[in-house]
Symmetry: C2
Subunit: 296 residues, 2 copies
């Protein structure tokens, strides 16, 4: 079994790294948070002083970090992965970051003789804990096949989308659809409720036809029952839509409703709702309508 490095032991990374240790892999770990490192050490992982040391000891280096600049710093910054990586190694970036930056990182790593896969996930903290993440992968097919047994320790729905960056593109597309479907359900249920209809019955009727979606099932119910504990936090979805809008600007795609959805998230955040579930986007429209679903 290959030695694995794991950089980034946050809400997502910690349980993911834990699954690998439990599966018997020798795991070298690094995070700026000492508590997280100590927790992994107690499971059997080996702490490192920096990302370079992780890379020196591992054939496979996994990153699970908040955003594009964090990944760039861990890979190419002072004492970063690139300073310690051996030719023939593979870097797997499971963070959700810019597809365009991802392609540049893969090119720079290739010059050092290292392969790269981008492998962002969906499924959140619960998916990470239960090893039930969806994993959207970009990179070479032969590298994907080599790494697949490792992905299977962390996730269930594991799909190779295409070349480097395409996993990140798929994740961005996913987050656009999720946010805009939440927005669609918000407009429809709010209009129905303020017009005097029973939204529970409207939701049921809509689930029987072309308006059906997982979001109408799950998030539509949250809007009606007013249960906005996450779930998936608005502040994380803001980051994802920022990636979408940035990618749209970079490659020249106009995303009008993504822009509006982001502004509605911003409005809920401005009112203290950044930690709420993303279905709380409806609250911004409710404020504009001076009316809450259910008539409260």
């Amino acid at each position: 079994m290959a030695n694995i490095g794991f950089i980034g032991l946050g809400i997502m990374g910690k349980p993911m790294a834990g699954h690998l240790v439990k599966a018997g892999y020798t795991l070298y770990v690094y995070d700026i948070m000492h508590e997280s490192v100590a927790e992994l050490k107690s499971l059997g992982a080996i702490p490192c002083r920096n990302s370079k040391e992780v890379a020196e000891n591992s054939e496979i280096v996994i990153l699970m970090l908040p955003d594009t600049p964090d990944v760039e710093e861990a890979l190419f910054g002072h004492d970063g992965v690139s300073a310690g990586i051996k030719p023939g190694s593979t870097v797997i970036d499971m963070s959700s970051i810019s597809p365009i930056a991802t392609r540049k990182f893969a090119e720079k790593l290739a010059k050092l003789g290292a392969e790269m896969l981008d492998a962002p996930v969906s499924g959140g903290q619960l998916g990470a804990q239960n090893a039930a993440l969806s994993i959207m992968v970009g990179g070479k097919a032969e590298i994907f096949e080599q790494i697949k047994p490792i992905f299977e320790k962390m996730g269930k729905n594991i799909v190779l989308i295409g070349g480097n960056g395409d996993g990140q593109v798929c994740k961005v597309a996913n987050q656009i659809v999720v946010a805009l479907t939440i927005e669609a359900i918000s407009e429809a249920l709010l209009l129905a409720s303020k017009a005097g209809a029973d939204v529970t019955k409207v939701r049921e009727a809509l689930l029987g036809g072309f308006a059906q979606s997982r979001i109408l099932e799950v998030h539509g119910e949250r809007m009606i029952k007013r249960t906005f504990q996450p779930g998936f936090k608005i502040k994380l979805h803001q980051k994802d839509l920022n990636l979408a809008l940035q990618t749209g600007r970079d490659i020249g795609v106009s995303l009008p409703n993504t822009a509006t959805a982001q502004e509605l998230f911003n409005a809920v955040s401005a009112d203290g709702g950044a930690e709420l579930d993303h279905s709380a986007m409806v609250q911004a429209l409710e404020r504009l309508a001076n009316f809450t679903i259910g008539g409260k």
Copy 2:
């Protein structure tokens, strides 16, 4: 069996009326199009000279007309239903029209001793032909129960949503969700495609998670395969979103993404696409991006 009147024998009304004649009802029919009336006559329906004459001969009067002013004219205009209707009769408006106007019409009919149900449908021409329409009903529960056997000759998923107008509210909510989900899929697949990913694989990956919807299944595939024959025509969805936006203005609900979706429909129409399937909304975004899904 009650005598039934049927006013409006268009693309939808003609097959719906046909099912009632075949089921053995005595059907009095009226339409301004003589060919449609003649066709129903050949099946056994009895032609009338105007809506008043339909009402004089029927205990139940069904309307299936294009828009709010058409329904108002048929009910309360010269030689309209209200001039011939008998106390104890029931008017069933199966057109998709304004929920607010619907409530006014129900009040006016109540003063003449007549009941009213609003019962807009979804499922399109094919649903009408196959007696497989979804029917969203507003009105009194006891009237709904009386009429249900008649609805069952024309549809399958038949739901009482609430009081007068609530069937129309539900239909408007349905059309908002459908249009905005088409828009969401359009933004996501276009971004993914212009970013270089294989949209077929992106769509498959998205179907496995929270981005899943009937629209992603059906209309997402149409966007990828470039099959834009209707289906449901853009010009009809424009009418429905106009109802949504008008209702939003009337009751005070801001519908920002519905407004954008309508403008995108308007752009496709301006380019000659009014008769295309509503999934062709993607063409407006494609024009803005100077790129077509699949890279053509």
